[in-house]
């Protein structure tokens, strides 16, 4: 029974790497504040080493996750939505702590849940939209299918705490990639709590890794790590975009840059967001034309 003099148990906001909740190896934190500038929590200030660990986990998880059946990935995404639905109140409370009105907070959580369901459904369908059987002129069976790019390092949209992160992360993993996400720097709470949702959703450890910290500090590493296949960025900051694109050239990383997207609208969900993180693989196989002997001598 709640009493007024009960001391509240405060939550320690940690990062999420390989299905575990470590503190940053650097031992550093920063203070997350509300709109009035009052402290709401100490949050991990992740380091380059944390990022490297997270990439290692993501790489380790890639073979298993990309090898799952599309149906199974869809089930797990649906499970994430179920878990989020169950913890709605906690997210609404955190969003309000970070400055949202109750109505907006509710809407943001609802949309996040719905978006997870939306992409859950796409897991075993986008392939049929974007793949092709190619009618080559020679006697071959030729087809092009989509495959995930691999490990994606994504800086979540900074303006929102939850919906931005969900809108980027979900199409990435729906398509079989694994990822390292950097949470909103100013509104990091929901990202950490969302990691707890992921952790209770049958999502294998390492498929999604979530860091909190300073964008300016970690951004170059998100772009220059040699075992990252793609980097995703969503802010209108020309200088940062340039840094990312330049460093990406080190290993011909794909840069997926979303400019001026409003993540709380319908325009920011479509199978094209899945397609953005896919490679096209084309396979050739000969066809033996048995009984086709029409050649005359």
């Amino acid at each position: 029974m709640a009493t007024k003099n009960r001391i509240e148990v405060l939550k320690t906001y940690k990062i999420y790497i390989g299905g575990q909740f470590p503190r940053t190896e650097s031992g550093r934190t920063y203070i997350a504040t509300n709109a009035k500038g009052e402290m709401i929590a100490n949050v991990c200030l992740s380091s380059r080493k944390d990022f490297r660990d997270a990439v290692g986990s993501a790489r380790g998880a890639f073979g298993g996750w990309s090898g799952r059946s599309a149906f199974n990935r869809g089930q797990i995404l649906y499970r994430i939505a179920e878990m989020l639905e169950g913890r709605k109140a906690q997210f609404i409370e955190e969003l309000m702590k970070q400055g949202s009105s109750k109505g907006n907070a509710e809407a943001e959580v609802n949309l996040s849940i719905d978006r997870l369901i939306y992409y859950s459904g796409w897991c075993d369908k986008y392939q049929q939209i974007f793949s092709a059987v190619n009618p080559v002129a020679s006697s071959h069976f030729n087809f092009s299918v989509l495959e995930p790019m691999g490990v994606v390092a994504a800086i979540a949209p900074q303006g929102t705490s939850l919906i931005g992160l969900v809108s980027i992360m979900t199409p990435i993993i729906a398509g079989g990639n694994t990822c390292v996400m950097l949470a909103s720097e100013s509104k990091p709470l929901c990202a950490v709590t969302f990691a707890e949702v992921l952790n209770s959703s049958d999502l294998p450890g390492g498929v999604v890794n979530i860091l909190t910290g300073k964008v300016s500090e970690l951004l170059p590493f998100f772009a220059d790590h040699m075992d990252v296949n793609a980097t995703c960025y969503c802010e209108n900051d020309a200088a940062s975009v340039k840094i990312i694109k330049e460093k990406a050239a080190l290993n011909v990383k794909r840069v997926i840059y979303y400019e001026n997207k409003k993540w709380n609208t319908k325009e920011t969900q479509s199978p094209y967001f899945i397609n953005d993180f896919q490679e096209v693989k084309t396979t050739w196989h000969p066809i033996e034309n048995i009984g086709g002997g029409k050649a005359g001598y």
Binding site: G150, K242, E246, A249
Partner: protein, 491 residues
């Protein structure tokens, strides 16, 4: 176990090599003494006032002089392309755009023999290949994409695709006309205008294509073709009024381009290097596989980004495969590219021959064993005997780096898992080949190898409808097929 009967029949290769010469006639190839820049529908003198020689690598004789475009010329071409885009091409109905592209396809077919001979003279590839592969495939590429021009909305559900604007396209010297077709056809079909630069050693067929484009009466400025070397390419890449860069070439240059356009909004597709694994399992039809390996590495003198330059043979069949390969290599005819019997023509340039020879040395220094055909090669011109290396370690440079020549590095393996690991252990990911009689094994391999194009029981096949392009450091974006359209459209 009873001793197996050993085949002691010695193959005689002399008779195969001593076919009577069957040279294709040069008379069909009209090559001017000098070529200007094709800008705004006209052939213009370069403002640099400079020209460079283009030679026949088969005998080192000069074929022609080609204009060297500087930054001013590049700017002229971009301005022409921009004007044509805003004033004409953007307003041309897709259906009419298609008809222009169909015209180009037909005219290439009409002038096929001339183009094939010039391609072989300028680039050194066997006439059999330029005649039967490069030129017809180039024409087919235009024909295929022409048909897309008025059907784009069907390719991208729920989107209304729009052109990007002006495309800057830089192409390599290994398939000069075909690469021009791969670049120009989809860009035109999607409504973009073009500034294209062929490689400096192989400009002639691109300039012939400019003549065709002029004859086809394409509106001036829609396609501009300018010649030059690296600095001309850099001026295209860095020009502020270009919306899209399409580059085919080395991974090193690709990285430079990716970095150079970082601060701009230019879209890019990069089709870069490769170090493809060609994998033979013990249940494969071995003769067919050996033929595929030969085609995989010696097609176009090995100047192929998707060449099967790493061969992995399952240990149990290694000896027999190696013997068959050596025998087959001995029967390859190396020499005059214009001769219809020639299998391996001239190396494209002196510079490239030096690169290949450097790797032959490195391979031996690193402890690999080299085997070369005993064939004679012409005294003049740039030639390299077909070469295989055995006893190659995964870490050897000849197994890691792209050589872009007729040089094959052979390794062995025992299990599927092992060969998947080895095949993927490279920064490249352009292509791969798998040879086995077992369907389920094929699909295990093709789905686990990280590469954009995989040939199962075949190799080096191309088609306009078939998307081509790499994973990892082999570049991004696709050329060919429906997927090739996306590279030139805003969705």
């Amino acid at each position: 176990m009873a001793a197996k009967k050993v085949n002691t029949i010695k193959l005689k290769f002399e008779s195969a090599r001593n076919l009577a010469p069957a040279p294709e006639s040069k008379s069909v190839a009209k090559i001017e003494e000098r070529y200007e820049l094709f800008i705004n529908g006209k052939f213009e003198k370069p403002s640099s006032k400079k020209y460079f020689d283009t030679i026949n690598p088969a005998n080192e004789e000069k074929l022609s002089s080609v204009a060297d475009a500087n930054a001013t010329d590049v700017n002229k071409a971009v301005v022409a392309a921009r004007n044509a885009y805003e004033k004409v091409w953007k307003k041309t109905s897709p259906k009419e755009r298609a008809k222009y592209i169909y015209r180009i396809a037909r005219m290439i077919q009409e002038r096929a023999r001339e183009l094939a001979v010039i391609e072989t003279l300028d680039g050194g590839k066997p006439i059999r290949e330029s005649r039967d592969f490069d030129v017809p495939t180039a024409a087919n590429h235009f024909f295929y994409y022409a048909g897309w021009a008025d059907k784009l909305e069907y390719a991208f559900p729920n989107r209304s695709p729009q052109p990007l604007g002006v495309a800057g396209q830089i192409i390599p010297w290994n398939f000069p006309l075909l690469m021009a077709a791969w670049k120009i056809a989809p860009a035109l079909a999607t409504g973009n205008t073009i500034v294209l630069k062929p490689a400096e050693t192989t400009s002639l067929t691109a300039l012939k294509l400019a003549e065709i484009i002029q004859e086809a009466d394409l509106p001036p400025g829609v396609v501009n073709i300018i010649t030059g070397a690296g600095s001309t390419g850099a001026a295209i890449v860095n020009h502020p009024d270009i919306n899209k860069i399409a580059f085919t070439g080395s991974t090193d240059v690709g990285k430079i381009i990716q970095k150079a356009i970082a601060g701009s909004n230019k879209k890019a597709t990069l089709e870069l290097g490769g170090k493809a694994a060609n994998i033979i399992f013990d249940d494969a039809p071995l003769d067919q596989a050996v033929e595929g390996v030969i085609n995989g590495i010696f097609f176009n003198q090995g100047h192929v980004c998707c060449a099967g330059s790493r061969l992995f043979v399952q240990e149990s069949v290694y000896k027999v495969v190696l013997q068959k390969l050596k025998d087959r290599i001995e029967s390859l005819i190396v020499g005059d590219p214009l001769d219809k019997n020639t299998d391996i023509g001239a190396i494209n340039s002196k510079q490239q021959l030096e690169v290949i020879n450097k790797y032959l040395k490195i391979g031996q220094q690193e402890g690999a064993e080299m085997f070369q055909s005993s064939c004679a090669i012409p005294k003049k011109g740039f030639y390299c005997r077909p070469t295989i290396f055995t006893n190659v370690a995964q870490s050897n440079r000849i197994a890691q780096e792209e050589i872009f020549g007729p040089v094959l590095a052979i390794q062995t393996f025992r299990t599927e898992d092992e060969v998947i690991e080895k095949a993927n252990n490279t920064p490249f990911g352009l292509s791969a080949g798998v040879w086995t009689d077992k369907g389920s094994k094929i699909f295990n391999m093709t789905s686990k190898i990280r590469a954009g194009v995989i040939w199962a029981n075949t190799y080096n096949k191309f088609d306009p409808t078939s998307p081509f392009g790499g994973y990892k450091e082999s570049g991004y974006g696709r050329e060919g097929g429906l997927h090739g359209l996306g590279a030139y459209l805003k969705l």
